[in-house]
């Protein structure tokens, strides 16, 4: 009975599969095709083989953008995951601030990245910005957020932390919530102090959640477009030009090289695939 009823379960999935193909697979395949061409807006272009890929790997600006992206992503992981863990630990011990803080944390999370970038451009404006005004009261600054390479990168980190903290905190809180209470009790009775309880009980339990959190933040950060686009403009010079911004500029500014931009995207995608595969293998081995 049951067998015959479920003989073609896939046919019920067809509408969804069709939709997925339309919005996900099709653009991906088109981008892939694009990456082997010299297309530009309005001109379909010709097959050029691996030329775009070879060019990207030899393009110092692309390599620079890629490693700038990795730097930004690594920083974002460190700040977001670290602060998320810290806040989750605070909320676990102190119930009262939790509700209010959660609302406040969630607000920036629902904002669009572009809006976040614009808010932080105002907040970090060199003259009349909130941060510099505050720092000025202590006799610091004004700090050149736009024109100093590390400060510009710092402004990206700040903005992404502000926006992404809720996500990391929620993940860590979920991880902490699944930690059995009596394990902590047992460690207390065994005479463990707080650092030892964290090291021996909390940390091993959270490790998997932290790793997943780190991977997600890393992958999302590496392809961030709106933040550098609207907050720093990729500057000063190319100091905050992340891969997505350079690809965008290759496609829609200057020479309008759609094929070259697509090839850059494909290279980042390959990097993603390798990274994710490594992560999953590592996870399986430690499980």
């Amino acid at each position: 009975m049951r067998r015959s009823r479920n003989r073609f379960p896939s046919k019920y999935l067809l509408p969804l599969l069709a939709l997925t193909a339309l919005v996900w697979a099709l653009p991906l395949l088109m981008a892939l095709a694009l990456s082997f061409s010299d297309a530009s807006p309005g001109a379909p272009g010709h097959w050029v083989g691996l030329q775009n890929f070879v060019r990207a790997l030899g393009d110092i600006r692309f390599i620079h953008a890629f490693f700038t992206g990795v730097l930004f992503a690594v920083g974002a992981v460190a700040f977001n995951v670290g602060a998320g863990l810290g806040l989750a630990l605070v909320f676990r011990r102190h119930e009262k601030p939790r509700a209010l803080a959660q609302v406040m944390l969630l607000l920036p999370w629902v904002l669009s990245e572009l809006a976040v970038a614009l808010i932080w451009r105002d907040v970090l404006a060199q003259n009349g910005g909130l941060v510099n005004a505050l720092l000025g009261r202590f006799g610091i600054g004004p700090l050149p957020w736009q024109t100093h390479a590390w400060l510009a990168m710092g402004s990206l980190w700040l903005a992404t932390l502000w926006q992404g903290l809720a996500f990391s905190t929620m993940l860590q809180m979920a991880g902490l919530a699944s930690l059995p209470h009596h394990l902590v009790h047992a460690a207390k009775l065994d005479g463990a102090d707080r650092p030892l309880i964290f090291r021996a009980v909390v940390w091993p339990h959270l490790r998997r959640v932290l790793a997943a959190n780190a991977l997600l933040v890393f992958l999302l950060s590496l392809v961030t477009f709106s933040l550098p686009f609207a907050l720093t403009g990729g500057g000063p010079l190319f100091a905050t030009e992340l891969p997505a911004l350079y690809a965008y500029r290759s496609a829609f500014a200057g020479n309008f090289e759609l094929g070259y931009a697509a090839a850059q995207g494909m290279l980042v995608l390959v990097f993603y695939a390798v990274l994710t595969a490594l992560f999953l293998r590592l996870r399986r081995r430690t499980a």
Partner: protein, 347 residues
């Protein structure tokens, strides 16, 4: 008699409107194994948690060898505990679990670990993680982790509840042996009356946050101070009949039973254990209809009805029984009768 090690005096613990411990008072003697038993929700675990310091009591006093425990950090109380599921550190091997309490206190010695592993038959499992152990192996490791640092007080919270019956009996024996060898003062929490009787030097019965009776298993069984205790111990449970005292008898619709003295006209409840009634040919004050017989090998459980009152008898195998549906006369020695007042207290 040994000196008193643990004293809990009038301990009160409330959770919101609910009172978990209601002037809970209990003495535990040095080196004894006290079984704390009661139905679920009676406050057994809360009592343990106030001893180890996971809850602070709202009122009352807890002392261990004369030193107050309230307000002392859990790790500084020199108390060890075993949980129902073992609460082993899942990322540490058996060896590291055993060594953890010593390492945490900076008193690590490989010898102690080896010795404990040997005693608990864990030597072959030292490199395993808790997830790779059977339920019994996990609990043995938990016992070792608790006892390795020679605590002053050893607490067990339903340590065998998640194990199957044969394993439970073996571990019960092991726990008794360990307590005797180390002469550590022990409180063993269980909801199982048979386990409490089997394991405890003494048994404390808790009901609604108060200790009703604390005594040896024999005393608990033979002289329950409260109807609740009488009902709680023994399987099948004690037979209880409502009645009124009239001229040296308890009289009810079910018949009459002779007792020693008693105040005429008083409403009471009379009880007797299933093994204390005999079926006899001569007429007695208590006749009941045989409804069902359960053969159990060494004994037979007979279910009878005396008017509306249901009675259970435990009879040695081979005892002649009337046919189902026929009446039987029951004889119970007055020495085996238990009298309780209307509010449940023993008379």
């Amino acid at each position: 008699m040994n000196e008193i090690a643990l004293v809990m005096r009038e301990v009160v613990k409330r959770f919101g409107a609910a009172t978990a411990l209601d002037r809970f008072t209990l003495d535990v003697r040095s080196g004894e194994l006290l079984a704390l038993v009661g139905p679920s929700g009676s406050g057994k675990s809360t009592a343990l948690h106030t001893i180890v310091g996971l809850h602070d009591p709202d009122a009352g006093e807890i002392t261990l060898h004369g030193n107050g425990l309230v307000g002392v950090a859990p790790g500084a109380r020199d108390v060890a505990m075993v949980w129902q599921d073992g609460a082993l550190y899942p990322h540490l091997t058996v060896h590291d679990n055993l060594a953890f309490p010593l390492k945490a206190r900076g008193k690590w010695g490989e010898k102690a670990v080896t010795h404990m592993a040997e005693r608990l038959d864990l030597l072959d499992l030292l490199d395993r993680l808790p997830g790779e152990l059977s339920g019994g192996e996990r609990q043995r490791t938990a016992l070792g982790r608790a006892l390795i640092r020679k605590p002053k007080l050893f607490l067990l919270d339903e340590p065998l509840s998640s194990l199957d019956l044969p394993l439970r009996e073996r571990l019960r024996t092991l726990i008794r042996e360990l307590v005797r060898e180390t002469s550590v003062t022990t409180v063993y929490v269980t909801h199982d009356q048979a386990e409490a009787m089997a394991v405890g030097d003494r048994v404390a019965v808790i009901r609604a946050g108060r200790v009703v009776q604390a005594a040896t298993p024999r005393e608990i069984y033979e002289k329950p101070v409260h109807e609740f205790v009488a009902r709680f111990f023994g399987n099948p449970p004690m037979n209880l009949l409502d009645g009124c005292i009239e001229d040296g008898h308890v009289v009810g619709e079910w018949g009459r039973l002779a007792i020693d003295g008693g105040e005429n006209g008083r409403t009471v409840r009379v009880g007797f254990r299933p093994e204390h009634a005999a079926i006899t040919g001569e007429p007695t004050g208590l006749a009941a209809t045989l409804r069902r017989v359960e053969y159990q090998g060494h004994e037979t459980i007979a279910m009878l009805l005396a008017r509306d009152a249901e009675l259970r008898l435990r009879l040695p195998d081979g005892e002649a029984l009337p046919n189902i549906g026929d009446d039987a006369n029951l004889r119970i020695d007055r020495g085996n009768l238990h009298l309780f007042s209307a509010d449940g207290a023993r008379l």
